[in-house]
């Protein structure tokens, strides 16, 4: 094998290894936080329900608090409305969160 071919072969191998390491690293990091992420999401949902509960028929804080905080919570509002659709399948969410298989 010529010098350049060998060099480029090693370079390609190096690049592949680096790519593999990056993938492993990303997956590892994702795994390190997967349950935590779900927990965080649930906390945010609870917060949303507390503040924006008026929109889904829950007792709410003094309405002006809801109105004052609402403009800062577009994401939460969206998520809450969507959650109504999935709220009847908490099992699925739980199973996936806790990764039983």
């Amino acid at each position: 094998m010529s010098e350049e071919a060998k060099g480029s072969w090693i370079g390609a191998l190096g690049r592949k290894t680096l790519r593999l390491w990056r993938i492993v690293d990303t997956v590892s990091r994702a795994k390190a936080v997967d349950t935590l992420t779900v927990e965080l999401e649930e906390l945010e949902n609870i917060f949303s329900l507390l503040v924006l509960g008026a929109f889904v028929g829950l007792p709410s804080p003094p309405i002006h608090l809801t109105m004052d905080l609402m403009p800062e919570m577009p994401h939460e509002f969206e998520r809450m409305i969507e959650k109504i659709g999935t709220a009847h399948d908490p099992l699925g969410e739980l199973f996936s969160a806790l990764g039983i298989g």
Partner: protein
């Protein structure tokens, strides 16, 4: 028959079938299209919907579904011979398991990432909702009991693993504290924790811990009690304290174990020491249930597992970059789990033949070593021998790499016990939730408290575990029950996929319909046989449980069938768009 040949052959077969069968299913049946816009792109928000590289999703997905299932199942099923086990794992995982996982992922992807259970819930109306919870309760009840027994059995047979498995708890808690509370560098701590774990595993070989019989309870019984107490404590802790870091450490153990196994098979076979010693086919081993239908119930995870259908394809589906990627992720990860199961088969069919030291001190090799474990269903303590066949067999194979046997034994034993341990924790948590839902529905609110519900979850499993005899020999009866419920869920998911495919027109639905019918039939058949067996041994608890399983399987099959017949071809049904999104996403047509 050379083990390496089997391994290379089946792996090559998987790759081939992925391209042949997988791609056909993808393009012709599900109509995957590169031009379709998956939710990760259409609804991209940087939080949930993030287009991600398929390798990353794959890694995450696979480590989530792999566990103790693909190990225990094949380790038991080898009793019917290595050919049936291998064929079922290979064919089953391709034609049923991968189709099931892949189908669930695609349906989820085409419904904005909503889980398949959402889709299923449309067909399980509120009337049967309680029933569905009952199914899940049964499943978890059996899981907690069986997995508790699995670990107890490992502890009893491999005292060198005890220390390391328990020490994993403080390691995980330490890592959890330092990373999640103190914010220290995660890569550094991961490496430290994992290295520390392996140090303990190796050191454990010198510090075996034997549990004495206590108050008339055999060692396994005592361990089971301790483990269920552990399940209780662990499941009430916050997730970052123990569960999250432990789960994380386990996924690395999985990687290490698989790599070691593959290398072990290669090296040992090339050294000419790894030959299959298990019989090719043994349809009616002594005292064991018949191969037909029990093979299909015993190997669940690894061929097709209903648990996966409950796993909300949610996260993965929200991250898939293109429709084409879903094949790699859904289909591919199931095939990889099949590959793991095949490695297990090799360990218990060939690895065990490399040498086995009986408790009495004799060293057996070849077929004699195999027979010591599989002479009969309940030979030498039932479930224990089957698992030890794997641990010993795998340890043997890895030994070929030059690692001393006492260490390899410890590594493999700790591997199995760790995974089972985390499952105990998570299953208890979910069971707690299921129980509180059931109690709340029955207006028994005083039972819905966190500790009460957990106590009931653990307590009920304890009852089941001891109902089969605390020594673990009876635990083998539980595994088919676990398999039966698991496969019922699998059949249900396949039915749902069939309904979806029916709406795509033509006979596409056969791809999942046939497996669905197969699973339902096998499960009912096996449950019927079990009913007779339990009746003969006068075990009331098991009889009742089995009857409930039969009832549930019939009901679910009926519901699924009715729904299937009602569905006409045409536009695929979509879950109702949340009105919030404004514009409706068009269903993907291939």
């Amino acid at each position: 028959m050379n083990a390496l040949l089997i391994m290379v052959g089946s792996f090559a077969g998987y790759i081939l079938m992925y391209h042949l069968y997988g791609r056909t299913i993808g393009s012709r049946i599900f109509g995957l299209s590169q031009s379709a816009t998956p939710p990760s792109v259409a609804l991209e928000d940087g939080i949930d919907y993030v287009p991600t590289r398929k390798e990353i999703i794959f890694g995450h997905h696979f480590t989530s579904i792999a566990g103790t299932g693909p190990i225990v199942g094949p380790a038991i099923a080898i009793i019917w011979g290595w050919i049936p086990a291998l064929v079922w794992v290979f064919a089953g995982s391709i034609v049923m398991g991968a189709v099931h996982d892949f189908g669930a992922l695609v349906i989820s992807m085409r419904n904005q990432g909503k889980s398949i259970s959402d889709y299923t819930a449309k067909y399980i109306n509120s009337r049967t909702r309680l029933l569905f919870f009952l199914v899940v309760f049964l499943e978890l009840w059996i899981v907690i009991a069986v997995f508790g027994l699995v670990i107890a059995v490992i502890f009893a047979m491999y005292p060198q693993s005890v220390a390391a498995v328990w020490l994993q708890v403080p390691i995980a808690m330490g890592m959890g504290y330092l990373v999640y509370k103190k914010g220290m560098n995660v890569t550094l701590l991961s490496i430290c924790s994992i290295c520390l774990l392996y140090v303990f595993i190796l050191a454990g070989a010198y510090v075996p811990i034997q549990m004495p019989a206590v108050a008339g309870l055999p060692a396994t019984g005592v361990w089971t009690l301790i483990l269920l107490a552990y399940a209780f404590s662990a499941s009430v802790l916050p997730v970052t304290t123990l569960l999250q870091p432990r789960d994380y450490i386990n996924s690395h153990q999985l990687l290490v174990a698989m790599v070691l196994l593959i290398l072990g098979v290669v090296v040992a076979s090339l050294g000419g020491r790894l030959e299959v010693v298990a019989p090719a086919l043994q349809a009616h081993p002594s005292e064991a249930p018949a191969m037909m239908p029990f093979l299909f119930i015993t190997i669940a995870c690894g061929a097709i597992s209903g648990f996966h259908s409950l796993v909300s394809s949610g996260t993965s589906a929200k991250q898939v970059k293109t429709e084409g990627d879903s094949l790699f992720i859904g289909f591919g990860s199931m095939l990889l789990e099949g590959a793991l199961a095949i490695l297990v088969i090799l360990a218990v069919a060939a690895g065990i033949g490399m040498g086995y030291t009986t408790p009495a001190g004799h060293v057996l090799t070849g077929t004699a070593a195999w027979t010591a474990h599989y002479a009969s269903w309940t030979a030498a303590s039932g479930l224990g021998t089957k698992i030890s066949a794997f641990v010993d067999g795998a340890a043997n194979m890895i030994m070929a790499l030059g690692i001393p046997k006492q260490f390899t034994l410890a590594i493999m034993a700790v591997f199995v016990a760790s995974f089972a341990g985390t499952t105990l924790d998570t299953a208890t948590r979910i069971q707690r939730y299921v129980l509180s839902e059931v109690f709340a529905t029955l207006k028994l609110d005083f039972l819905t408290g966190k500790y009460t519900a957990t106590a009931m979850a653990v307590g009920s499993a304890l009852v089941l575990a001891f109902a089969t005899g605390a020594s673990g020999s009876g635990a083998l009866k539980l595994w088919p029950l676990f398999g039966a419920v698991n496969q019922t869920l699998a059949a249900l998911a396949l039915m749902v996929i069939s309904v979806y495919l029916k709406t795509r027109g033509g006979y596409k639905w056969l791809v999942s319909g046939i497996p669905a019918v197969f699973m339902a039939v096998m499960t009912l058949w096996a449950s019927g046989v079990n009913q007779r067996l339990f009746g003969q041994s006068h075990n009331l608890l098991l009889q009742l449980t089995n009857m409930v399983i039969i009832f549930v399987t019939c009901w679910i099959s009926l519901e699924g069938l009715i729904r299937f017949l009602k569905t006409g071809g045409g536009r695929p049904e979509k879950l109702a768009d949340s009105e919030f999104r404004g514009r409706a996403l068009e269903p993907e047509e291939g």
